[in-house]
Structure formats: C-alpha cells, structure tokens
C-alpha cells in the first residue's frame, strides 16, 4: 500500500474515521459524566472497527464491535448504572493543578517521542519487508483462516493459557463480587 497511489475514496474515509476516533477519544476523556464518557468511548471503538475493516482485518473489526463495544462497554455501563454513578459528583472529577501539570507533561512527552521517532525515519525503516499482497492475506484462505492458522499452531500454548486466564478471571470476579459471609 505504501508508495502507491492511494485511491481518493479510500483515503478520504481513512482520514474521516481516524478523525472521528481522535475527536471521540478527546471528548471521552473530557466528559464529566461517566455515562457520556462511556458512550464516547463506544463511538471511538466503532471508528476503530471501521479502520480495522479498511485495513483488511475484517475479523478483528467484527470482534472489536462484538467484544469491545458490545460486551465490555455494556459491562462498564451496567456497573456505572448499578452503582448509580451516572451523575457527575459535586466535587470536581479532575485532579488538582499538580496532577494536571504532570499529566500534560507526560502527554506532551509521549507525543514528542512519536514526533521524534517518525522524524528519524523509523517508519520507512519498518517498511523494509516485502508487503504481502492483498491476495496473500485474504485471497485463498478467506479472512479467518490466516488468523486461525497461527493461533492454533504456533500460539497454541498462549491460546490455552488464555483460557486459564479467563477461568481465573471468572473465579476472581465471583469471589470479589459475592457478599462476604463473615463480615465484621
């Protein structure tokens, strides 16, 4: 895709969804109400899903919508509404001056690092390997096949460990969530 003519239609929508993701993320982090913040984060995730689909990662895009926007964010909203946190507190939610200064410096430092890295031609260095053609990724094995192959061959151990992790998470959530019987 690099150093090639990017079709106007593709480029327009790429930048459009990128800007939507960026704007929604900024709105998300500045909202006072947790419910509004969660909904802006859902918007960010939908824009990212559109970007994934545009970058030939259709399965990941669908998983993004199903798992992130559909499952994880619903759990977040459920807890926000269960704990009745929907209305912003009387006290300001933002930390004090020092916290803001430190966070701002941290964010500026991160962005400067990115700027320096891209100026040092790190990104062109990353483009050295031969880009697989679209057919190599999506042509013969479909969309899910190239993901399922490595997942169940090279990364089978990681896959099995993930199931153990999920089991631990389920047990931990139940143990943490139940009312303690021996309350003091």
């Amino acid at each position: 895709m690099q150093n090639e003519f990017v079709p106007l239609f593709y480029g327009f929508h790429f930048y459009l969804f990128g800007l939507i993701a960026l704007a929604s993320a900024i709105l998300f982090v500045t909202r006072k109400s947790p419910v509004a913040a969660a909904l802006w984060l859902v918007q960010t995730m939908f824009a990212l899903a559109a970007l994934y689909i545009m970058m030939d990662a259709q399965f990941v895009g669908v998983m993004q919508i199903l798992v992130y926007a559909g499952a994880i964010m619903v759990v977040f909203l459920f807890v926000i509404m269960l704990l009745n946190l929907g209305h912003p507190d009387e006290i300001s939610d933002i930390r004090g001056t020092w916290g803001r200064v430190i966070a701002g410096l941290f964010g500026i430092a991160l962005l400067a690092e990115v700027g320096a890295a891209s100026r040092n031609a790190l990104v062109p260095a990353l483009q050295l390997p031969q880009a697989p053609t679209d057919g190599a990724i999506n042509g013969t094995a479909g969309v899910i096949g190239p993901i399922a192959g490595p997942m169940f061959k090279e990364y089978l151990l990681a896959f099995e460990l993930t199931s153990v992790l999920l089991l631990v998470a389920v047990i931990g959530a139940v143990v943490l969530g139940k009312k303690s019987s021996n309350a003091r």
Partner: protein, 97 residues
C-alpha cells in the same frame, strides 16, 4: 496509511495516559486503560498488513486479556464501592500506609 495509523495509535495512547493521570473517577480510569489497549490493537493491525496476519492473532489475545481485566477490575470497583460508598480515587487510599 501505515504512518497515519501509527500516529493515530500513539495519539490515542497518549490520550489514554493523560486520562488515567488526570481523572479521579475509577470507572473513567478503567475506560482510559481500555482506550490504551485499543490504541495498541490499532498498531498491531496496521503492522499486520506488512508482516502477515500474526498481529491479528495478538489482537485477539489482547481482547481476551482486556475482557478478563474488565471483569476483575469491575468486581474490585464494586467491592470497594460496597465498602467505601465512593469510587473517587482520592478517597481510596487503603494502601497508602
């Protein structure tokens, strides 16, 4: 499109870091962590166009870890809320000593 994707990913990650450092609501801090994981996923997908579909495998793993983290983290938030009646991180200083 690779450079733009990586720049967007870095910007989203920086926004998430700033959110974690500035917000006091535990729920919003959790959501900022999710945003940072999403930024990492974006760079995984962007680089998987160059290096093959292995990056997308790792996106699936990251999503699983994010789901597990959300489940345990929200359970902890509920337990703390039951105890303290607040999710304001300013008031949660049990481990401060």
């Amino acid at each position: 499109m690779l450079a733009e994707s990586l720049a967007l990913s870095a910007a989203l990650f920086a926004i998430g870091v700033v959110g974690v450092l500035t917000r006091r609501n535990a729920m919003i801090v959790f959501m900022c962590v999710e945003l940072m994981l999403n930024a990492v996923n974006l760079s995984f997908v962007a680089l998987s166009r160059l290096y093959g579909a292995t990056g997308q495998v790792f996106v699936i793993f990251v999503m699983t870890v994010a789901a597990a983290e959300a489940a345990v983290g929200l359970a902890i938030v509920i337990a703390i809320f039951r105890h303290k009646k607040t999710v304001d991180l300013q008031n949660i200083n049990l481990l401060r000593g």
